[in-house]
Symmetry: C2
Subunit: 131 residues, 2 copies
DNA sequence: TATAATAATGATAACAATTATTATTATTGT
DNA sequence: ACAATAATAATAATTGTTATCATTATTATA
């Protein structure tokens, strides 16, 4: 299997530029509508396609998103989680920590109001690691 | 407008029971297929409907999920974020913190392998707070 | 216990975000 | 210029979720 050789594309460059010039953590749709006036023949699919390639390449990351499915928890206490990126399982991850403190610390650095936080560790679970 | 009076429902109870007896942070679909053999006339819509009510009631929470749209970041460095739950904006949130340490601490409590974490604060941003 | 008010439901249509398909166009090495 | 193939537009398909609506179940009260 030969490596896929990457070719230049003006549209990919434009997407890169938008990402480099915004701090708004945009959606694919937002990037699309930002570029559309300037590049009228741009397709939304191109934006999605490029973003997902760029993510694989490590040029882009996405913010606390791991695949669009909502996962529920009968335990209403705020607590941290661990996601196994191999098998997809999600476990509670409650080694005792500054979990309560954290919001206080954050609040002291911030003009708005902090309500809570989510903390999710990613990696390989015990079972997947032995394989 | 009078308060909506909640009535008993066997199916809602069943969903509660499943949630109480699992630590797997299930999806709506998983809850549905778990209950389906036992309650053959259960509908997937009922599961979704009840879960979202229970979430409003604070009986259930969902794990690090805030609405299904992927948000991209051209900055590939791992860093924390703040989400305004009023206006939806997402900002970087990088007051200096044990961000690097954190994975190390987590690793020391864990048999698997920690790769990284996501830390997302929720609340009301400066602008929305003044209204 | 019958009844009336209305909450809960199943089935399914609608929807929104994303991914796959395919014929065409653009880039690049020769 | 040409051949190989990467990138694309347009759009169909897929997936997860929510809305609709006619029917059924629960509950308060007569």
């Amino acid at each position: 299997m030969s490596e896929k050789v990457r070719k230049f594309s003006r549209k990919r460059e434009a997407i890169r530029t938008v990402l480099a010039n915004t701090k708004s953590h945009p959606t694919a749709e937002w990037i699309f509508s930002t570029l559309k006036p300037e590049i009228p023949d741009l397709s939304l699919a191109t934006v999605y396609r490029n973003l997902s390639e760029m993510k694989e390449n490590g040029e882009v990351q996405s913010v606390a998103f791991w695949g669009g499915k909502e996962r529920f928890d009968g335990n209403v206490e705020k607590h941290s989680h661990f996601v196994c990126d191999k098998c997809g399982r999600i476990d509670d991850f409650d080694f005792i920590m500054h979990d309560k403190e954290l919001d206080g610390v954050a609040q002291s650095h911030f003009g708005g109001k902090i309500d809570f936080h989510t903390l999710v560790f990613h990696g390989t679970c015990c079972e997947c690691v032995n394989e």
